[in-house]
Point group: C2
């Protein structure tokens, strides 16, 4: 580890930073494409095609796909290739349960670690979220919203936890793509501004409560019915027709 390496999860840097390794860049680009809902759950990721798109050999793509699979954002099927992951309802609930567990528990650490510069960074990010909301670009809006949660972990400064959060946010992005109800209003920046208030007051308990409520709100904006399980990926086709 030479300088500022492996500060997150996966190859290079998943959300921020400048990937320099040849395949780290591809990893990053696909990751972002999925986070921005340009690649939707169920989309096939053919090695040859991706290899041509990025001008590299299949082998590189293969390696990248394995890394993405480890992040649970793509699913590998033996002899059948890779597809963008399609989280089940059960998986979705588990991801949100994990988020509640970790993000709520972080509250005391956040309050402790958040200095003036950190609060300023958070407020700057809120501006970004508002801008995204005005532009009515749902993908950008959602990505910014997820970045806020990662940012909170970054303030605490524990790279292990940041890595967990990155993974959870990536999976949340997929879950939202699948299960979001069409009539959402969200306005996540309001909830986030609320969280910042508690941080400024150094109110850890209040922050924890607000975070818990926020996460419940997000989950209740989804349609997570428990019927049937496992659409086996072709459910997505049926869902489209």
């Amino acid at each position: 580890m030479g300088k500022a390496r492996t500060n997150g999860r996966g190859l290079g840097a998943a959300a921020a930073g400048t990937p320099q390794s040849p395949e780290a860049e591809i990893y990053h680009k696909i990751h972002v494409a999925i986070a921005e809902h340009r690649l939707l759950p169920g989309a096939r990721l053919v090695e040859d095609q991706l290899g041509e798109v990025f001008g590299v050999s299949r082998m590189r793509i293969r390696s990248v796909l394995h890394s993405l699979a480890r992040d649970k954002v793509v699913t590998l099927q033996r002899n059948r290739g890779a597809v963008v992951a399609h989280p089940t309802v059960k998986e979705a609930k588990e991801v949100f349960a994990a988020r509640r567990l970790i993000e709520v528990a972080m509250a005391p650490d956040i309050v402790r670690a958040a200095d003036d510069a950190a609060v300023r960074r958070l407020k700057d990010h809120i501006k970004k979220e508002k801008k995204g909301e005005h532009s009515h670009d749902r993908a950008f809006e959602l990505k910014a919203s997820h970045e806020f949660h990662t940012l909170l972990a970054e303030i605490v400064g524990n790279r292990v936890v940041v890595g967990f959060l990155r993974e959870l946010m990536a999976r949340s992005s997929l879950i939202t793509a699948i299960y979001e109800r069409p009539d959402v209003s969200s306005c996540s920046h309001l909830a986030h501004s609320n969280l910042i208030k508690f941080i400024e007051r150094r109110d850890a308990e209040g922050l924890a409560a607000a975070m818990l409520q926020h996460l419940h709100q997000i989950e209740s904006d989804l349609v997570l019915f428990d019927r049937g399980e496992q659409p086996t990926d072709l459910k997505s086709v049926f869902a489209g027709s």
Copy 2:
């Protein structure tokens, strides 16, 4: 996902279960070898050698090493191969901070989810720990101790969290291998029995407090000085001479 797949982290199953995929087995074996301290931090993992040992091609080994690198139990250096990871002091502290965050926060969920069968499983595991302690096999003892913590997560039943815990336990194993002071007495089974008492009483707060104290105890049994940072892996050589 056909039947009971991807219930943990990484390939196949990291700690329990029967790996059937050809390279999942190798992944599992190396993982266990590291957890049992048969492979120590800094040990080189040459592709050809491993390929011959397991009777497979280099490519399989390569894939496995990448998976292990993602788990942070091995470190990949470009053009220089793979070595068993050598966590820094900073990394070690972050891992333990993450464990405190998650394992303490799990307390209410554990109390809620622990039925009679679960408590029995925990008590059975304690027997295993005691046996390990009598045999004076430090490696076995430590592995059993880590399994207890994973078991707690499994009782809650959230596979995402179980995955996180598995990763944290694997890294804890490496950290212990490096930083354990020689005069430890540990007796983890006592602390674990204590945790079970709180679970039986359905005392979430008590469990949380006991868990926090237990984790602090484990960390204070290590020698985590903050000098110098980043040994770049050759610190291990210096440490030996």
